[in-house]
């Protein structure tokens, strides 16, 4: 029945090698018109490489690509665009110094002549309204001033705008990683409408529920191969996790966290957001894991940064009594030093402790790196390799190692798990609990509600203010969302 539909994209025996690494090892994949294909797999399974080939960014090593029935032997980015294939990449690709409208113009050369800015603004505004009603983004906003969640909304909306080039297939690579559950829901609803109109969509996501609930068909990749492909209805969460080949599905996060008999120590952080009007404030004791929740971009990151800066000196409304470290979520702009090895990237927060005499001890630096490679399971043959040789999830582990390997007693986490695979997440959750047991404090901003299960209690943010303080027992997704909107009255 499925086969009766027209095949839009047909990949046969596609291979891609990077040196000795077989990123893709003979992949066959069909995309039919009018379907949403969910693509899942651990980091490093080859999903991104496959999508780069489909969008023409990478050339195939072997194999053929056919679009709408004709074999494309000179496939390229411009060819893919001309055939109506677009992609929203995981690493955001907007120019931060340009406005939303100007960024839209980049994809649409036909918007020219007098008034092109107005046309581009109308185009993107209309699409934003369609996908994210009530989005509060103005086309004249400079992209760099938008929160990462809003940037992702613009990026997504831009991919769906149409002028003269056709649009048949949109690849969404972790499109909801920086969105809160409300906007993520809006996007997924839109994807269903888009697919309903006969277009196609590939949805790549680490949130299995998102894929199960929205894809017509699910393709599972592992080690550069497609290991399973079937209608979404035949999969469930366990079956997906099993075919991905990761650690057996562990729904025990909440259970594990709940049985905590952790020693809670004295107060080490007190912080009141700058815009708070009542006397609510964030209080953290040593040994606690505190969640910061609410819709994305409602002041959670701002408060974390304010706490970070307060550690250097005093600041009104914030008290910090112990050294702290921050784990960035926006790896590229806030975390990674791209010229450096993994070991140096981990060591930078601790260099002052590694000084012997006048100089940084190479031995201590190497020891720190190898200790954390083992503890947090960074997958690399050599910690002296460049940090960019790691997959995204492993880069994030290196950032965790940087913070946890330091003398910090308070760890601030700025939505660090976005776009990270479930295996990495489970490793890190365990580690966070262990560290909290030994008296460290975690302030954890996350856009993924399930992660809040790890927290002892949760502050919900709205409009730059704390609007609720929920204990773990009171915590449900509905409650978080409800609290986020209560304040609006």
């Amino acid at each position: 029945m499925v086969d009766a539909r027209t095949i839009l994209v047909k990949l046969e025996g596609v291979e891609k090698h990077f040196g000795a690494v077989r990123a893709l090892d003979g992949v066959d994949l069909n995309i039919f018109a009018g379907e949403c294909v969910g693509l899942v797999g651990h980091n490093g399974a080859g999903k991104s490489t496959l999508m780069n080939i489909l969008t023409g960014t990478l050339a195939t090593g072997a194999g053929t690509i056919s679009i709408s029935g004709s074999v494309e032997d000179r496939y390229s980015v411009s060819r893919a665009l001309a055939l109506g294939i677009r992609c929203v990449f995981q690493e955001l690709s907007l120019c931060p110094n340009l406005s939303v409208a100007e960024n839209t113009r980049i994809n649409h050369p036909s918007l020219k002549g007098i008034g092109w800015q107005r046309k581009a603004a109308a185009l993107i505004a209309q699409k934003l309204d369609e996908i994210f009603p009530g989005h509060s983004i103005d086309p004249s906003d400079i992209v760099g001033d938008l929160s990462i969640g809003r940037r992702q909304m613009v990026e997504v909306a831009r991919a769906f705008t149409v002028t003269d080039a056709p649009l048949d297939l949109v690849i969404l690579d972790e499109p909801t990683s920086s969105l809160d559950s409300h906007t993520a829901g809006q996007l997924l609803d839109f994807v269903r409408r888009f697919v309903g109109s006969g277009k196609s969509c590939i949805l790549i996501s680490h949130l299995l529920g998102e894929v199960l609930g929205n894809a017509d068909r699910i393709v599972v990749m592992r080690d550069g191969k497609v290991v399973a492909a079937d209608r979404a209805a035949v999969f469930d969460r366990d079956k997906l996790v099993t075919s991905m080949g990761g650690a057996a599905a562990r729904e025990k996060v909440a259970a594990e966290a709940a049985k905590g008999t952790r020693e809670i120590g004295p107060i080490c952080v007190k912080a009141r957001p700058a815009r708070q009007r009542d006397d609510m404030q964030l209080v953290a004791r040593s040994g606690e894991i505190i969640g910061l929740a609410g819709l994305a971009g409602n002041g959670q990151t701002d408060l974390l940064l304010a706490i970070f800066e307060a550690a250097g000196g005093s600041r009104s409304g914030i008290e910090v009594t112990a050294p702290l470290a921050l784990v960035a979520g926006d790896r590229q702009s806030d975390g990674i030093f791209p010229q450096w090895s993994i070991a140096r990237n981990i060591g930078i927060r601790s260099i002052e402790r590694m000084v012997r005499g006048m100089l940084i001890s190479s031995r201590r630096e190497a020891e720190l790196a190898s200790r954390w490679q083992e503890r947090i399971k960074i997958r690399t043959p050599d910690m002296n390799n460049n940090i960019l040789s790691l997959s995204g999830g492993n880069q994030q582990k290196a950032l965790f190692a940087r913070a946890l390997g330091s003398d910090a007693r308070i760890i601030l986490m700025d939505d660090p798990m976005r776009g990270v695979d479930i295996g990495t997440k489970l490793d890190v959750y365990d580690l966070i609990r262990e560290e909290a047991d030994s008296g460290r404090t975690f302030l954890w901003y996350t856009t993924e509600t399930e992660e809040l299960d790890n927290c002892d209690h949760v502050y919900v943010f709205h409009g730059g203010r704390i609007v609720a303080n929920l204990s773990r027992d009171e915590l449900t997704e509905e409650k978080v969302i409800q609290s986020s909107f209560d304040e609006a009255v």
């Binding site: 702009s333 806030d334 975390g335 030093f337 791209p338 010229q339 260099i351």
Partner: protein, 315 residues
């Protein structure tokens, strides 16, 4: 073979290769005469570029936009300060040298304050500082040519086995700079800030303190250069540092330091300085006119930077 390949992968090797080719071309032209003397002279002149080049290297490594354009004026003022304080007497040598260093340090501090407190981009801040410093120099030195103490002048021209003592000091300085860059908290901080200032701040790097030290260090090295130049050329004057604006930047870039920041290269500064000095000697030897010399210098620098650019940034 493996080692040779590793050596070729170093970005600084090309500046030494270039220096050698230029030297060989000149010696071939003169029929094998004066090769040794040429190296001695080149070492002596290159060291002045190396001293300011290392300062400029740290500044440029701080990241996009960071540059010190006040070096020529700084050198001029420091040379005058040193000569006036020494006042031709060897007993005042140490104090005069300290005064020159202090003058350079003050210039660097002033640069940093303009950049930090008034939020002026470094290119403008250091350029406008240069005008002010030059005016101070003119009114302070009154255009007089002040002679160095004989002992200082002799020291600056001293050689052991044909190797200028200053060149040895320059090599020691370069080694110290390389160690500081890679093995001290300060050097790591500079490299981190140059790669990603925001990430550096969030990783606990002391951004403001590091920037201050860097501009102050560059200024101080400019001051040292001023005093040594005055001794070497037997007299201070306002224009003594003029050629070190472009030279300080050229040796950094040719030497393989990334203009985008975060990646520095100390040996390359020496190689590039030797290359530039030998290039001028070669063009002089070939008997080109000034105009042709400048055009060729420009073209050759462009060529070397293109060839030595190394692997393009990925993606």
């Amino acid at each position: 073979m493996e080692r040779a390949r590793a050596l070729l992968a170093k970005p600084w090797i090309w500046s030494f290769v270039g220096a050698f080719i230029v030297w060989a071309a000149t010696v071939a032209f003169t029929g094998g005469h004066g090769g040794g003397g040429m190296i001695t002279a080149a070492l002596a002149l290159a060291v002045f570029m190396v001293i300011v080049g290392i300062g400029q290297m740290f500044v440029i490594t701080l990241g996009p936009g960071n540059i010190d354009l006040s070096l020529p004026a700084n050198i001029g003022l420091a040379s005058a300060v040193a000569m006036k304080v020494m006042d031709g007497s060897d007993s005042m040598l140490a104090i005069g040298l300290m005064a020159a260093l202090a003058s350079g340090f003050a210039v660097g501090t002033a640069n940093y304050l303009l950049i930090r407190a008034l939020r002026i981009p470094p290119i403008i801040a250091t350029l406008s500082a240069a005008f002010i410093i030059q005016s101070i120099d003119i009114s302070y030195g009154r255009g007089l040519q002040i002679k160095p103490p004989p002992g200082f002048a002799d020291f600056a021209n001293l050689r052991y086995f044909g190797i200028p003592v200053l060149a040895i000091l320059g090599i020691v300085l370069a080694i110290a700079a390389a160690i500081a860059l890679n093995r001290t908290v300060y050097g790591r901080s500079v490299l981190a800030i140059g790669q990603n200032m925001r990430a550096a701040k969030l990783a606990g790097v002391k951004v403001h303190r590091t920037s201050f030290i860097t501009y102050a260090l560059c200024g101080t090295l400019g001051g040292l250069d001023g005093a040594l130049l005055a001794a070497y050329f037997r007299g201070a004057n306002v224009d003594i540092g003029n050629e070190y604006l472009l030279a300080s930047i050229a040796v950094v870039v040719i030497g393989g330091t990334s203009v985008a920041g975060g990646k520095a290269n100390v040996p390359g500064v020496w190689g590039a300085a030797l290359f530039l000095v030998l290039l001028l000697t070669m063009l002089n030897t070939f008997g080109f006119s000034v105009g042709v010399r400048l055009v060729l210098t420009g073209l050759i620098i462009v060529g070397v930077i293109t060839a030595a650019g190394g692997p393009r940034t990925e993606r």
